[in-house]
């Protein structure tokens, strides 16, 4: 440091930086605050503070939040959604967990009969990895479908004999034969299908819709999940709440799962001796405490909690009404079958989905597990198809006759397809099919999609897509499009990325299936 001219002190000031000290000690000394530093910085801080007060609340808005937008993120109003006038206001997703075999249901390959027990050509199979379950097999023998296909409807679409009801719908359906995914195992594949990412932790389609479009009925959750009762004879892969989780979005947008048996929501009724007014009083008090917590801590999840208590309170009246099928006319039971009276069956859930659509639930997802037919396809598949076939038909028909299909998008599909080659033993009577991500069949119908068409083509072995592939991201982009959302614009800043359902690989809306 330079000696001040007026300083009479003849002693040289101790200059730390010149002493024989280890470099880091000198650096540390240099970085320590001196009085001069402190004053200098304090001046800047004052400047920033003055500027913040000039700019006003805006500058602080990213940290603040209101009860309506718990995570401090823009709510549906500020998001400016839908981006354009939507064709569909709501969607119903019939999720076939486990991977339905496209070859036995939709993707008709008549030439395969002649290929029975012949090895699938290497040129078709290529060099990609198969699952550990069949990688050890010495052969990959072709297993033609056990069932006949017939043509249906004006579109003359081939459908398997396993689907006598759904086949009546073909002129209303948009059948996508070229859906394909990147994942070969259940968990990553089902995550990819639902959240656009194989790793858990991203918001699912329903949560994005709830976040983006908001509610049409404040008395019911925006996003509801219905699980079909397990059939112990089937190979049930687990589904978990990760699939309807809201990821980094506020937990308010997570799917609410209704129970598949007994009461749809546990403990929703007030206990004996507690009437509605008492409940209200209790909730008000709890909310008051929660609000104080929020003031103190500022965790946006506290606001989600308040919103959820309120939702539960409203659901005390709306859910019993929703689940009360007693006023359904006989025509309903004629259509869905007597099975629909039993809670937890697929048919029941389909009827429930229609009732939810009527009541303005934005997104309903019905899960049906058990499609993982590694072996005994001939034994299991007819059961599976019987369980869902009539329900699918009834739901679409019912929506259509009630005038709801115009603005409801119905989606049917699983997480992947199944192989043409047999897993395990192949005989004329039976065979198994392994996971197959390279092509599988899904369908949509209703608002926004073009009825009576098949989109995309697979090769003679239903192994590779040869025309118009629809990867999962395009599939999801198209669903969002039908609901008036530009998938590139519905984003949420998290981990330094503008996160979106369709991920970072560019996705395209499948124009060919739009109405």
């Amino acid at each position: 440091m330079k000696q001040h001219p007026l300083c009479t002190d003849t002693e040289h000031e101790l200059d730390i930086s010149r002493l024989a000290l280890p470099a880091e000690v000198r650096r540390e000394w240099a970085s320590l605050q001196t009085r001069r530093h402190f004053l200098g910085r304090a001046g800047k801080v004052m400047g920033w503070a003055a500027m913040a007060s000039l700019v006003g609340d805006r500058a602080l808005q990213t940290h603040a939040s209101s009860p309506k937008t718990p995570a401090g993120a823009p709510g549906p109003d500020e998001l400016k959604l839908p981006h354009f006038a939507p064709k569909a206001k709501r969607a119903i997703y019939l999720f076939m967990s486990g991977g339905p075999p496209q070859l036995d249901m939709w993707d008709y390959k008549p030439n395969l009969a002649a290929q029975y027990d012949k090895d699938i050509p290497d040129s078709v199979r290529g060099v990609q990895q198969v699952t550990g379950m069949t990688a050890g097999q010495a052969r990959f023998p072709v297993a033609p479908s056990h069932w006949d296909f017939k043509r249906y409807g004006q579109s003359g679409t081939y459908v398997s004999d396993l689907l006598p009801y759904t086949s009546k719908l073909v002129d209303d359906l948009t059948i996508i034969k070229s859906t394909n995914t990147d994942a070969i195992n259940h968990e990553p594949a089902i995550m990819l299908m639902n959240t656009g990412n194989m790793n858990a932790g991203k918001p699912c389609l329903g949560s994005w819709l709830a976040y983006g479009l908001g509610s049409m009925n404040d008395n019911l959750p925006t996003f509801l999940v219905l699980q079909t009762k397990l059939n112990p004879k089937q190979d049930n892969q687990p589904v978990s709440s990760r699939l309807w989780g809201s990821g980094f979005l506020s937990s308010e947008y997570a799917g609410v799962s209704l129970r598949s048996g007994g009461e749809p929501v546990l403990y929703i009724d007030n206990p004996d001796g507690v009437d509605s007014a008492t409940r209200r009083q209790m909730l008000d008090a709890v909310n008051q405490i929660n609000r104080e917590t929020y003031e103190e801590v500022g965790d946006p999840e506290t606001n989600s909690r308040i919103a959820q208590y309120e939702m539960a309170y409203r659901m005390q009246t709306s859910v019993p009404e929703l689940a009360d099928f007693s006023k359904e006319p006989q025509t309903t039971w004629d259509l869905y079958g007597e099975e629909a009276k039993e809670p937890g069956t697929f048919a029941y859930n389909c009827l429930m989905a229609r009732r939810m659509a009527e009541r303005g639930v934005r997104f309903t997802q019905v899960y049906k597990r058990g499609w993982d037919v590694h072996g005994n396809v001939v034994g299991t598949l007819p059961q599976l198809c019987e369980e869902v076939d009539r329900g699918c038909y009834a739901l679409v028909t019912d929506l259509k006759r009630r005038g709801l299909l115009d603005d409801t998008l119905v989606i049917w599909g699983g997480e992947f397809g199944r192989t043409v080659y047999s897993q395990g033993g192949l005989s004329r009577e039976n065979y198994g099919r392994d996971h197959h991500p390279r092509c599988f069949t899904t369908w949509m119908t209703g608002g926004g999609v073009r009825p009576g068409i098949s989109y995309g083509e697979t090769d003679d072995y239903s192994y590779n897509v040869v025309k118009d592939p629809v990867p999962v991201r395009d599939f999801n982009a198209t669903i969002l499009h039908c609901l008036g959302i530009d998938h590139n614009k519905l984003t949420y800043k998290y981990q330094g990325l503008d996160q979106k359902l369709t991920g970072t690989t560019p996705a395209n809306v499948v124009q060919g299936i739009l109405a």
Binding site: D77, H83, A85, M216, E358, R402, G403, G484, G512, A515
Partner: protein, 467 residues
Amino acid sequence: MFADKTLWKDNGARRRWTAALVLSLLLLSLPWIVRLNGQPHADWQQFLGRFHPLAVHLPVTLILLVPLLELGGRRKPALREAAGFVLVLAFAGCIASVMLGYLLAFGSGTAGPGVTRHMWGGILLTVCTMLCLLTRPLWSALPTDKVYPALLTITLIMMMWAAHQGGSLTHGSNYLTMYAPRPIKTIASLGRSQAKSDSFYVQHIAPIWDKKCLSCHGDGKVKGDLRMDTFEALMVGGKDGSVIVPNKPDDSLLLKRVTLPESHKQFMPAEGKPPLSKEEIAWIRAWIQQGASPTTTHLAGISIRQDSDVPLEPVGDYSALQPEIERMKNAAGAKLLTVSAKPSDGLILNTLDVAGNFGDAQLAQFEKYAPFIVEVDLARTAVTDASFSTLAKFTHLRAIHLDNTSVTGNGIEKLAGLKHLTYLNLSGTKITSEDAARLKSLTSLQHIYLFNTPAQPLAPAEARKTS
């Protein structure tokens, strides 16, 4: 004419005028010296020529600047001094642009009426700029002289015309008017005959050319000697012969060129312009396959989905009501939701939350929003037949949900004035088929739902016929 004879007599001035005359003659005779014959020439010419679109903006800006500087010069003489220099630069830019442009057209073998117009525009503009340059000293000496201002005005007009011709060459002649409001469009298309025909060619094939091909193969620019703006010209073909061989899509050059890999040198549309979609290619293929006729109205195997999307009729401006709409959103009760982020798409009256308590009186309260509401969801509400007279005032309605209400159809004919109505849901009501038939004058109505009513539960298509 030239007031100051001394200037004219000045030797230097005479030399300048002579040089200008020679240069003008040279420029004007350029099209005859080097003919644009539609044949491509050396690559280096094209290489240099492609800098034309870049270079051309320089003189455009400079010429625009000149009158501004001259006007500004009235107050600040320094600006007027600058104007002379800018004019020199503009002239130099004009010469460079004309040369580069000529190289582009000559090198790539582009020809056509549009190219010719743009070429003459450029040449004349250069001559005009030069004349400005020559007459300016007279004007600065004697500001009452009118020659320079007049020439400058002509130059400006000339430039706008030439620039517009150039823009039309690059982007197609309908680039400016394509998205213009309808009145402007009608003015712009006056005098242009519009082929009215329902043939497949006119309806579906020609529009593909319009969108993807005409900017290089139309009346403006004609590349490869191929014009596609009329059916006859298309069938004549280009410099490689015919491009369409009826019944033989695989032998048709046009189809070959549009289906090449995109990276291929001969791929069309060239220069990174948007390629044809699969659907468009399929239509062209089917059209050629089935005879490439200009008149046939239907092609086997091709079903064109009718765009049933009537463009949404924009509703008026309701921003004054916005605060109230916001208040409703945050309160209990019926809400007005927006159809989309675009306010003019209108509002939806949503009563799902409060269906049981929403009756005719509540509906009437929304009358002041009536012209802005395009959809009312009254399903399972307590409204009655009295609602029809209220709904009749909602003139922009496209969809009405009255399902599972107690309406009986008494007074339903009041809805007949709703000219935009496409969807009417009366399922689960007491409506009879006679009542439904009273809406037959509503030609816009596409879907009427009568499920679970005394009227037959008709399929929408049949309902259309009876109603």
